[in-house]
Every structure is written in structure tokens, then in C-alpha cells.
Amino acid sequence: MTIVEPVTTKTKNQQKSLRIAKLVPLLVVTAGAIIVVVLTYTLPPFRNYQLATIGAYLCVTAGLTVLTGLNGQLSLGHGALMATGAYTLAIWQNKFDLLLPGIVLAVLVTTVAGAVIGLAAARLRGPYLAGLTLAVAVVVPSITSTFDRTFNSDQGLSVALEPPPGTIPVEQWQAWICWAGALLTVLVLAYLVGGRFGRDLRAVRDDETAAKLAGVGVARTQIMAFVVSAACAGLSGALFAVLSQSVSPGAFPLSLSLFLVMAIVIGGLGRLTGALIGAVLLVVLPSAAQSIAEKAGSQHLEGNLALTFFGVVLVLVMLAAPGGLASWKARRKLPTQKG
């Protein structure tokens, strides 16, 4: 009998800490919301627009880092999923002009698309999965040309939008919408990943056979991971449609999917703070590179400088600090070959 009591006391303390721990995501998200609102009132319009863009990117980088970082599936097709969400919203808005249902619909449609791809991809590993998602990334924009009556080919569609209520400036309104979506995404993902789903993801990534033996449904987990990240991508795409008030295939090229991968890697795979860093980089780096290029005064440099910079950072981070990849260091086998 005496053995039981000390154990109970410890458990009670542990339970209290666990309860606080469960609130951490909610606290962080609330703090984030306050920071964002304060920023939107103090920043000039163009910065608010950039802030909104960061929020939109955060939705997709968060989902992608869960898929690739925690579950080990490399997807090169998330740009196409964003396009799915964006076009769904555009078509809905041009018919009905009701923003919130439109965004929900965009997320749903993209979730279905993600489920389809996830099902096809469940048996694929490594480069074969990369190849399939790459093909998806290339094909989806070409659908806009095949069904050009609905999607208007390369010219794209404009997105009908109500102006913001009252006298709120457009850019501020955009920032609020995008960050509402982003913070919601982060909150949901934090809770999902902190629970059993996250455990299953990591188990499948680290050792499929062991996971199977432990009773984790490998295919089911991988498809669910794809579905969750697709929903995030759909939300992100819908938000981009709101931001630029237009959708076109040129907004979702293959390089977007590649940039997303790069962003989550540099940020730190598998971590939501990493997703935030990646989202910030995606907006700030091209802007910084452009101002440097303007000072240098050459037309050739602008976009190319940003590209080179991205690439160098990516290679360096991957080579010097696979610590960022520590969350996906997979098989405990001997390395098959040294350099």
C-alpha cells in the first residue's frame, strides 16, 4: 500500500504540467494574434501586404513541414495543391462572392485532391514519390489550358472580392484574413502533431517495419499526412487568391513547389517555428535581393540574385547542418557508402 501513494503524488504533478503543456500552443497562437494586429496598425500598406503574404505562406509551409519533416514524404507538388485551392476560391467568388464559405470549399476540394494523390503515393518511396508529385506539379497548371473555357488558360481569372468593411485599409484587412488562417492552421497542427497522430507520423518515418509491428497503419498514416498537408495547401492557395485578386497558372509554377521545400528545410524540418522562418524567408529574401539589385543597377541581376542566394543558403544548410534534418534522420543502418 505504501508503494502506491508516492506514485500518485508524482502523477498529479505530472498531470498538472501536462495540462499547462497542452495550453502552450493556444497561448503562443494568442500572443501571435496580438502581435500581428499591432503590426497591422503600425506598418505602411506595402509592408502589411508583405505581412499578409507571410501569413499565407505559413499555412502551406506548416502543412508541408509536417508531411516531409515528421513523416518523411517528399512532395514536390504542393504548389499544384495551392493552385487547386486558389482556383476553387476564384470560381466560387466569381459566382457567389461569399468569402468564408469559399475558403472552406477551397480547403475541402484540395483535401480531396490530396487524398487522391496520397492514395496513389502511399506505396511509393523516395524518388518515386518525388517523381509522381513533380508530375502533378507540372500537369495541374496545364489543366487550365485544356479546360480553357472554365479556367481561362494562361491569362487566368480575376477574383471578385467585397471591399473591406468600414474604412479599414485593404492591406490591413488582407493581413487579418491571412493571419487568421495561418494561426488557425498552426493551432490545429500543433494539437494534431502533439498527440497520437504525431507519434504515428514519426514512427512510420523512422522505421516502417517497427511501426507496423507496433500496430500503426503505415499506409493510413501516410495518406492522412498527405491529406492534412493538402488541406493546409488549399487554405494557402485560397488566401493567395484573395491577396492578388487573380489566379493564373504562372502563379503556381514548379519552382514554387521547390521553394516551399527549400523554405521548410532552412527553417528546420518538422518544426512549426521552422515553417514560420521559411515563410518569412520566402517573402523577405526576394524583396531584399531586389533592393540590392536595384542599387547595383542591372536588369539581369534582380530575380537571379535571389535565386542564387536561395540556392547557396540551401546547399550550405544541408551540408553543414543536417541537424536541421535531425528530425528526419531515418534508418539506423550503416551508411551504404561513404563519399
Partner: protein
């Protein structure tokens, strides 16, 4: 799930140091970009205008599939502005022309135009190039009340005075051009099979509408998208349909591609090309060794030809080109760019010394500008379209030569009528005076 992993999740663990470094770098970068915000000052709340300067912006395809030829336009316009600035500017203000690359990608146009309007605070947008690209920024420019002058495209979308009161065209409408080209085909190739290849957007659609108004439905029609540089299937389909005449509503790269691909499969119809895709020097450069294929190609124009040495406008432009454009290759794109610059300067003169955005749009709307065009512009309160018509050209010996007289027509079912007005000559010093 343990407490530690939850905390680690949020604190970023071993990435903490790296996070700090990255964030520091970002702040630095943000600081750089912030300091660069080029507002151009403002006087009396008019963005982009000070007592001695005007800042205007544009989006242009300096790179990408449409850069062939089109990338020369904005530098030529800028060269003309430099010439005007060297002679004292307009009402004492020098013009700064900031044009950014959008790669003919509508998504980039969104970014670039927002930067020009929100960050650089330009006074107006001039000569935004491209039908698919510019269509996407119309609402944004209207919401921000930015004058959107002389769009480099012939889409009818720019001619909507009620919906977009600040937007004005420059090129003849593609429907107008389609009717004029079709009228020539009807006259010269009566009874032959006519086919049509157009860009898969408003450019191609408006052009086809004009062609079919005069010729009726074409025997075969195909489209192309700029992102897919293979027109083999389209040319193959035309060959299978045994077309005698192929009308092209295409940008220069794709005109060259179509002519080259057709030759490759042994298909040699009479090509009739839209003005925007027909500059001989650009096509010759793109076709390289296959340039002889261009012989006999029919096109149209509404500005003086670059090879017409006796034309006073060409002499003026060549002078400006040598002195202010680094003696760049002189072709029809340069002529176009400088003509746009000339018209803008005329509008600035007419707007007066007390310059505001509303005054500029009112000045353009008043119209009545005479310039290098073969036909007049149509600016009025009810019409925001640009030039009223074109004249047919034919490529002989690598040079374009005029055929017949200029024609004007409208977007609807009006007849194609010959224009008999006399051409204007440039002022003595090449800078327009207030009218």
C-alpha cells in the same frame, strides 16, 4: 507525449542559435529594403510628383518567352524621356521612368505593380505590356486611382470608360486589326481557305472575332499558350486541313516558331500576322538561318516603319536612339517605344503645370493629339481605345513595305474604310508643345 518534447517543439531546441542568426539577418535585410523605399516625394498630396520631377512606372517582359523584341520598348521610351529631360523637361519637371520585369507572367505583374504603386508611389502607370498580364491589375489600379495610360496591347478591355475611367489603350484594338487584315485577305485571296492561330487569351479571341466579322467562320482555328513552345500539333492540324492562308495573332517568338515549324513539316501557306508579332528585325533574329521564310509575309502597322529613312519621325527617333539609347539596334519596337513616350509627353503638356492625376486623365480624355501615327487616336469621354486603324505591309527582301492606304474601322460591324488624312510632322526640336 512527454512534456519535454512539447516544450522542445516550441522552443526550437538546437535550432535556437540558427533561428537567432537567421532572424538577425532578416531584420538587417528588412532594414535594407525599408531604407530603399523610393517615394519620390510628393507635392500637394499627388504621389510621384514634385516641383521638378515625375515618377512613373511600368511592367514589361524583360525576360521570358515574350522578351524577344518587347524588351526593347521600355528602354526606348526612357531614352525619349531622357531627351526631353535634357531639354528642360515638361513644365520644369524631369520624368523618371521605372519599369520592372514581370516575365509576361500575370502573377509577377501583380507583385510588381503593387510594389510600384504602394511602395514607390508612382504618379501613373504607363504602357503596361501584355493582355494577360495587364488584365489582372486593372481593378487594383482603379481602386488606387492610378492613371493607367497607353496599355501596350490591343485588347478591348482597356476601352471601358465607365468601368475603368483611368485606363486608356494605345494599340489599335485587335478586333479592329482583325477586320482590316481579314478585309485584305478577302480582297487578295478570295475563295481561299483561311485558318487562324491565336494566343489563348483575349488577344487571340478579340483578333478572331474581328477576322470572323469580315470573313465569316474560318476553316480551322487553333490556339497556343506561351508556356508551351511547341506549335507542331497546331501546324500539323492546319496542314491536314489544307489551309491556304494562316492568320497569326501571336507574339514575335511564336510567329517565328509557327513559320519555322510549318516549314519543317513542308507546309507553306500565306502567313498574315498581327502587328504586335511582326517586327521583321525581331523575327529575322529569332529565325536565324531560316529568315528567308519571312519573304512575302503580310502584316500591318500604324506607326512609321523603322526602315523609312525619309520619314521625319524616324529621323528624330534615330537621333534620340543614338544619343540616349546607347545606339541600340533600331527596329519597330524602338519606334513604338518612342511614340508612346511622345504621346505621354503630349498628355503631360496638356495637363498643365499644376499636375494632378485627375488632370492627367482629363487631358488624355480631351484627345486631339497629332503624332507619328498613320491614323488618329480615338481618345474621348466615351472612347478610351488607342489608334483607330492600320495599314497593310508586306515583307519584301527582308524589309516591310506599305501596301495600299491606311484603313480605320470599329469594334462592331462598321465597315472598313480608307483613311485619307495627311500625316503629321514632328515639331522642330522633337518635343511637343502645349496644345
Amino acid at each position: 507525449m512527454s512534456l519535454q518534447s512539447c516544450q522542445g517543439w516550441w522552443r526550437g531546441g538546437r535550432t535556437g542559435k540558427r533561428t537567432a542568426t537567421v532572424l538577425a539577418a532578416l531584420l538587417l535585410a528588412a532594414g535594407c529594403s525599408n531604407g530603399n523605399s523610393n517615394s519620390g516625394g510628393s507635392s500637394s498630396n499627388t504621389p510621384g510628383v514634385t516641383d521638378n520631377s515625375i515618377l512613373i512606372g511600368s511592367h514589361q517582359p524583360l525576360t521570358g518567352p515574350a522578351a524577344a523584341g518587347y524588351s526593347e520598348i521600355a528602354p526606348a521610351t526612357k531614352a525619349y524621356f531622357d531627351y526631353v529631360n535634357a531639354n528642360g523637361g515638361i513644365h520644369g519637371r524631369k520624368i523618371t521612368y521605372k519599369y520592372l520585369d514581370d516575365g509576361y507572367n500575370p502573377a509577377n505583374t501583380q507583385q510588381v505593380v503593387r510594389q510600384l504603386v504602394l511602395q514607390d508611389k508612382v504618379f501613373a502607370i504607363l504602357n503596361g505590356l501584355g493582355t494577360p498580364t495587364h488584365t489582372g491589375v486593372l481593378d487594383f489600379l482603379k481602386t488606387n486611382r492610378v492613371p493607367d495610360l497607353f496599355v501596350a496591347s490591343g485588347s478591348r478591355t482597356w476601352n471601358q470608360p465607365d468601368k475603368y475611367p483611368g485606363t486608356f489603350g494605345f494599340n489599335p484594338d485587335y478586333t479592329v486589326e482583325g477586320k482590316i487584315l481579314a478585309a485584305y485577305v478577302k480582297q487578295t485571296y478570295a475563295g481561299k481557305k483561311v485558318c487562324f492561330l491565336g494566343q489563348d487569351d483575349d488577344f487571340g479571341r478579340d483578333s478572331l472575332a474581328g477576322v470572323e466579322k469580315v470573313l465569316g467562320p474560318v476553316a480551322a482555328k487553333q490556339t497556343y499558350v506561351v508556356t508551351n513552345p511547341n506549335v507542331g500539333p497546331q501546324m500539323g492540324a492546319f496542314k491536314a486541313a489544307a489551309c491556304d492562308v494562316v492568320i497569326l495573332a501571336s507574339i514575335p517568338g511564336f510567329t517565328a516558331l509557327s513559320i519555322g515549324t510549318a516549314a519543317k513539316i513542308g507546309f507553306k501557306p500565306q502567313f498574315v500576322v498581327s502587328n504586335v508579332g511582326s517586327d521583321p528585325r525581331t523575327l529575322t533574329k529569332t529565325l536565324g538561318a531560316a529568315a528567308p521564310l519571312l519573304e512575302g509575309v503580310v502584316a500591318a502597322g500604324y506607326l512609321p516603319l523603322d526602315t523609312d529613312e525619309s520619314n521625319p519621325w524616324i529621323q528624330l527617333y534615330k537621333k534620340v536612339n543614338t544619343q540616349y539609347n546607347g545606339n541600340a539596334a533600331f527596329d519597330n519596337n524602338v519606334v513604338y517605344g518612342m511614340s508612346v513616350g511622345y504621346l505621354f509627353v503630349q498628355a503631360l503638356q496638356a495637363a498643365g503645370k499644376d499636375l494632378t492625376r485627375d488632370k492627367l486623365t482629363a487631358a488624355v480624355q480631351k484627345g486631339g493629339f497629332t503624332g507619328p501615327g498613320l491614323v488618329p487616336t480615338r481618345f474621348s469621354a466615351q472612347d478610351h481605345s488607342g489608334y483607330a486603324g492600320e495599314q497593310i505591309t508586306k515583307l519584301v527582301g527582308g524589309k516591310a513595305t506599305w501596301v495600299g492606304t491606311p484603313y480605320t474601322t470599329d469594334d462592331a460591324d462598321g465597315a472598313v474604310t480608307a483613311y485619307t488624312g495627311a500625316a503629321a510632322t514632328p515639331p522642330q526640336n522633337g518635343i511637343p508643345t502645349a496644345q
